[in-house]
């Protein structure tokens, strides 16, 4: 979960604003850990099913110290990253074409609408048949899961580009390709960026899920092995890690958006 938003603190001084978000975020985490502990102490959940937060945090510390964890983390990130890269390489150019050329959009529309709602998990058997329990299976699932939302975002992005801007580019005799390069692609970037942010979360979820189900090496498999070995502290520690990865990815993509979309009205206040 992302930390608390700063919206309400807009009017306050710069120093206040800089610390308000992390402070509130930390407070939220502390409260969450407290609720966890109280749930065990109060008997809502059994200590046998859910270990104490302190034990999980301690386990997390020892995981971070070991080499195997980092290998698994790297494997998961690689699966998610390659899958996302494949999805981007397919969805962004295809979205550009579908967004600009109406007949292609109309022709491919139904295909996209049929494939889009297919849950990635439904393709696990297919992946296993083709790639077996290797990273390839998970990468395929990630790529499949990320392609559709990114494609739809890209098409919407292209259609959001101001027609006066396109008309201007035409009036200055820019070729079709230059129009895409200088007007349509940058104009649809805000939508693509949002698509990538959505996809980063999907990629992580599908990568961990795929590993867990198929057994390809990575954090998902590690979680399953911990569960099999009744190493509950380790299992919860790994689950917490995946959550933290999600936050880290979100922050990283937010930073990229601020860097590349500083011209966009939503980002103009953000850089000084």
């Amino acid at each position: 979960m992302p930390p608390a938003k700063v919206g309400g603190a807009r009017a306050r001084s710069g120093l206040d604003r800089r610390w308000a978000a992390p402070a509130l975020g930390a407070l939220g985490i502390v409260l969450g850990l407290l609720a966890w502990e109280l749930a065990i102490v109060g008997g809502i959940v059994s200590e046998l099913d859910v270990p104490h937060p302190a034990a999980v945090v301690a386990e997390l510390g020892s995981l971070l110290g070991g080499g195997e964890f980092w290998t698994q983390l790297r494997q998961t990130m690689t699966n998610a990253g390659i899958g996302m890269a494949i999805a981007t390489a397919i969805a962004v150019p295809l979205g550009m074409v579908m967004g600009t050329v109406q007949p292609i959009r109309v022709a491919l529309g139904p295909v996209v609408e049929v494939l889009r709602p297919v849950p990635g998990i439904a393709l696990v058997p297919l992946a296993i048949v083709v790639w077996g329990p290797t990273g390839g299976s998970t990468i395929f699932l990630v790529a499949f899961g990320c392609t559709w939302p990114l494609l739809v975002q890209t098409i919407h992005g292209v259609q959001s580009v101001d027609d006066v801007a396109i008309m201007t580019a035409r009036s200055f005799r820019l070729s079709g390709l230059s129009r895409i390069r200088w007007v349509i692609f940058p104009g649809s970037l805000p939508y693509i960026a949002t698509g990538l942010r959505i996809c980063a979360a999907i990629a992580l979820i599908v990568a961990v899920g795929g590993e867990l189900i198929i057994g390809t090496p990575g954090l998902g498999t590690a979680i399953r092995q911990a569960q099999d070995g009744l190493a509950l502290e380790e299992m919860y520690a790994l689950i917490v890690v995946t959550g933290m990865l999600g936050i880290a990815l979100n922050l990283a993509f937010g930073r990229l958006e601020r860097r590349f979309l500083k011209w966009h009205p939503s980002q103009r206040g953000a850089h000084r």
Partner: protein
Amino acid sequence: MLEVVGLSKEYHGANGSTTAIAELSFSVNELEFVSVVGPSGCGKTTLLKCISGLLEPSSGGSLLRGVKIVSPPEAMALVFQDYARSLLPWLTVSGNVGLPLRRKHAAAERQRLADEALKAVGLSAFLDHYPWQLSGGMQQRVAIARALACQPRVLLLDEPFASVDAQTRAELEDLVLSLRSRFDITVLLVTHDIDEAVYMSDRIVVLTKQPSTIRDTLDVGLPWPRDQLTTKAMPMFSSLRAHVYREIVEAHRPRHLDAAVADEQMVVRPGVS
């Protein structure tokens, strides 16, 4: 220089077809400044798009130095009303001005032409700014510089000053007039502002309401150079202004009212005097 010959534009919609422009013909001579004025909604912007080749006319068309225009020609540049939408927010001021030059020029030459054009509109200090960091009037100057950098022979202006305040508008009017004589550019301006048309033009083309045809063409004949204060204080300016105003009001009036007015004039009222 620029000839519009029998240009018509029809739109085919669900409720039959509408004629936006009907058989319109006029020409703009070399170095002339011609304004097209007309009641709002008479299809002035459509006309400009058809003339420049951005829109395909239903029949007729336009010629630049005798060559039929099918897409925006090299020697022509357009400035749109909506600078905020026509300038690209992801490019800097000099990036925007240099963009149309990419097709023909290498980076260094592009930079030089862009710098020169921005200097001509007085924005040399803002090369690395983004358009959205500038005021409306400055943004429209950037758009003008972008057109200028292409070294056009003909400049088509679509309501270019309609989105700025009155003082900025006057400054921009004078800027365009000075650029026009400095760079020997022929100008076709589309506007709904009568003062602007009279102040800036050699000749004014008055359109009727839709379907647009030419209602009247008049030579302005005010002396050059023009000046916001002295030119506008001339009796001739006021009479021209009143003349064009009357034409537009009459052009805008629905036909049945014309008939009513005509009837009224036939009635001999019992005179008071």
